[in-house]
């Protein structure tokens, strides 16, 4: 929220400054960035280096006890690339991310548009509800959802049965991974909507009213106004929100892990879970690291595409 809110006014201000003639003292920004870069390098770069190094080593319990791994080159990568389960997990993770990001963005935007049209009281009520959802820690939220869909005593099964949606007594939501992932997606989207909704709402309040009125006078309907006026103006916000959502949803771990009692079966493995199981359950730290490195690489590709697009369209210059 804080990030996105300050992002928007910055966007327009920075553009003005750069298009002006004062491009002097070009080195000053780099000097100012240096301390932050050094800290990021220390807390992110070094562990990342260790992670990559670990992925080239055979590092099991035996090596852990001796605190010394054996170099195996690309052995770990060869192993995971020849493992059909790995490719299943990659595909599952990509589909899972796509579904979650799409749902989060669409529903979040819809709620933002709703807030913009509400009266003061209802707006306050809805915003408060969103902030409360946002403030709920993930572990607490997942456990509450887990109780709600409990096999034996869950309120979901009870309610659905009472409402005559069928016999949901002893309905096991996690027997099929499709319905299981449905529940997990619900938890994730539920938790991610507030950020998107509030940020988009903040963006909406920046759309000049006269543009909308002009479009309406020209005979544009609500959908056209949204598509032709609001959407292009808010594009930078949508791009940032979408890339953040992709980054978050791609590495979902807690929701699956806690929901399935810390022992998810293989048809619930996402890349993050797979890497964790290989590393910490089976003590194949090298293999687990290789999976994590592939994950990081995939994330980097996704992020690069977005950064490139942002720079190319010049929206955030």
């Amino acid at each position: 929220m804080a990030v996105a809110e300050s992002e928007f006014p910055l966007v327009s201000r920075r553009r003005r400054r750069l298009s002006g003639r004062r491009v002097a003292s070009a080195l000053a920004p780099y000097a100012l960035l240096a301390p932050a870069a050094a800290i990021i390098g220390a807390v992110l770069g070094y562990p990342l280096y260790l992670l990559v190094r670990l992925s080239f080593e055979k590092y099991g319990l035996f090596e852990l006890v001796r605190h010394h791994g054996t170099w195996v080159g690309l052995g770990n990568y060869r192993k995971i690339f020849h493992d059909s389960q790995f490719w299943h997990v990659v595909l599952r993770t990509v589909v899972f991310t796509a579904v979650n990001v799409t749902l989060t963005m669409v529903l979040g935007t819809a709620i933002a548009l709703l807030i913009a049209r509400l009266g003061r009281f209802m707006r306050l009520l809805l915003t408060t509800a969103l902030v409360l959802v946002w403030a709920t820690p993930v572990v607490v939220a997942v456990n509450i959802w887990r109780w709600m869909v409990d096999y034996e005593f869950g309120v979901a099964n009870w309610t659905l049965t009472k409402l005559h949606f069928g016999n949901f007594v002893h309905h096991d939501w996690f027997a099929s991974s499709l319905s299981g992932f449905g529940v997990i997606t619900a938890v994730i989207v539920w938790g991610a909507i507030p950020f998107v909704a509030i940020t988009v709402y903040a963006g909406l309040s920046q759309v000049p009213q006269e543009l909308i009125e002009a479009a309406q006078i020209d005979g544009a309907r609500a959908w056209n106004v949204f598509r032709e006026v609001t959407l292009p103006l808010l594009k930078p916000i949508f791009i940032i929100l979408a890339s953040l959502s992709i980054i978050w949803d791609f590495q979902v771990f807690n929701q699956v892990w806690i929901m399935l009692g810390e022992r998810p079966s293989p048809d619930y493995y996402l890349m993050s879970i797979y890497a964790f199981v290989e590393s910490f359950r089976i003590n194949e730290y090298g293999l687990g690291s290789a999976i994590a490195v592939v994950m990081v690489a995939m994330m980097m590709v996704a992020t690069l595409v977005y950064i490139r697009q942002m720079v190319k369209t010049g929206e955030v210059r």
Binding site: Y151, E152, H170, D172, S176, R263, S279, Y285, A292
Partner: protein, 426 residues
């Protein structure tokens, strides 16, 4: 997630420098405390035994504090691995008997001398074997346990069941009577509550029909769950679970705690350890009113009059190689496995670590069936990597596939065999 991996990588490698220098210095006399990791079972089941051992230890070592930290089965090994990486391991650690081999093989545990520990000449053979690798001892047997059927005598009686079942056929027909009598109007009722991931009880059927999980052939491990005898067992247990249990097919026997589900009154029987019984009757979390109507009997075999082999579960105590207080740790283990401590363990439903105490519960109708159940037992393949099969939930996942009908018995068994082979030979 990324952060977790990175943190672990950091722990594993960056701290190793600090650890290797630290483990060089041994100072057993100056320590002012030792750290003991026990499973939560001790906390809920026999806290008095722990307290007595601590008192006995402190009497011998005044000024040395014992920090007992209770762990859960789900993640205690992950935590131990992290402590190895960080170079700050506990001084005493409880292992499940099937978890020992990998740690003994990788040199994570200190070698011990049997003669230094109480009753070592009469230790249970099965437990002692789980503490031994290449002829060397790395652990001290703590206690054992075998599961038996814990049941509601009143419900059995009112369903018209005479005596206790003496074969699987009788067991199944008794269960059907119960389902008919109580299950019709109560959608939560289970004649035999059986969580889908309860692999100890499920695999007992495999061994009952003469099957096994894996065997060693020409120096390689071969998964044998797809062999005809094992399949017979899996089919039998699938039938029992499908007919008699309404428990979730995707959770294990501890989530929710089956003894507490039993205490709620919608369950006529379940298969559990001796210590789960008092758990069901606990006045805070269970139902003390059941005290007079609960009984136990060993699970019958599919062969009339024989007993089904039950998993010989148990725990061992070990001292991590990196412990700086090994001699204090050994003294604590001595106090905790003394004859009086083991008698205390037996009285709450465990099988003590020494044959000397085999008859403690002979006249206790509640606990005698568990000792009897232990007379016929099975154990997991003794491969160094076995615990990885457990940690990867290979068997649980196979059972979920079978009980939910997601896969046929044979195809679930085949894919489990493949995974087991990969892990054991890996």
């Amino acid at each position: 997630m990324k952060a977790r991996i990175i943190v672990a990588a950091l722990l594993a490698v960056a701290l190793s420098a600090a650890a290797s220098t630290a483990s060089g210095s041994v100072s057993s006399s100056k320590a002012d405390s030792i750290t003991v990791w026990l499973m939560g079972d001790a906390q809920s089941g026999w806290p008095n035994v722990v307290a007595e051992a601590n008192a006995a230890f402190r009497a011998k070592h005044p000024g040395v504090d014992v920090k007992v930290q209770y762990q859960t089965w789900g993640d205690h090994l992950t935590k131990f691995d992290a402590s190895i990486a960080g170079g700050d391991t506990p001084d005493v650690l409880e292992f499940g008997n099937s978890e020992m081999t990998k740690y003994m093989a990788s040199g994570a545990l200190k070698q011990l001398k049997a003669a230094n520990f109480p009753n070592s000449k009469t230790w249970l053979q099965g437990l002692k074997a789980s503490c031994t690798y290449n002829g060397k001892l790395f652990g001290v047997p703590y206690y054992a346990g075998a599961r038996a059927v814990i049941y509601r005598k009143d419900q059995y009686k009112s369903a018209g069941i005479k005596g206790t079942p003496k074969s699987q056929t009788e067991f199944l027909s008794a269960g059907k009577k119960l389902m008919k009598k109580f299950g019709k109007n109560d959608p939560n009722f289970s004649a035999f509550y059986f969580a889908g991931k309860n692999w100890y009880a499920s695999l007992a059927y495999v061994y009952d029909y003469g099957g096994q999980i894996a065997t060693r052939k020409n120096g390689k491990w071969v998964g044998t769950l797809e062999k005809p005898n094992a399949i017979k067992g899996l089919n039998a247990v699938k039938n029992v679970v499908g007919t008699l249990s309404r428990a979730s097919r995707t959770t294990d026997e501890a989530h929710p705690q089956q003894a507490l589900v039993f205490a709620k009154g919608h369950v006529a029987s379940f298969i559990g350890n001796g210590w789960e019984w008092p758990y069901a009757l606990n006045k805070d979390s269970g139902n003390p009113d059941l005290a007079n109507v609960v009984g136990a009997y060993p699970m019958p075999s599919h062969v009339q009059g024989k007993l089904m082999p039950e998993f010989l579960g148990g725990s061992d105590l070990a001292i991590p190689a990196q412990s700086k207080n090994a001699s204090l740790a050994a003294d604590w283990i001595k106090a905790f496995t003394s004859t009086s401590a083991e008698t205390g363990l037996a009285k709450v439903g465990n099988i003590p670590n020494t044959t000397k105490l085999a008859n403690v519960n002979k006249d206790n109708p509640q606990l005698a069936p568990f000792a009897k159940a232990a007379s016929s037992s099975w154990f997991v393949p003794t491969a160094p990597n076995w615990v990885n099969v457990e940690n990867a939930d290979v068997l649980q996942n196979m059972l979920v596939q079978i009980y939910t009908g997601k896969k046929s018995v044979i195809s679930a068994a085949k894919s489990a065999d493949k995974q087991i082979q990969n892990i054991l030979n890996g």
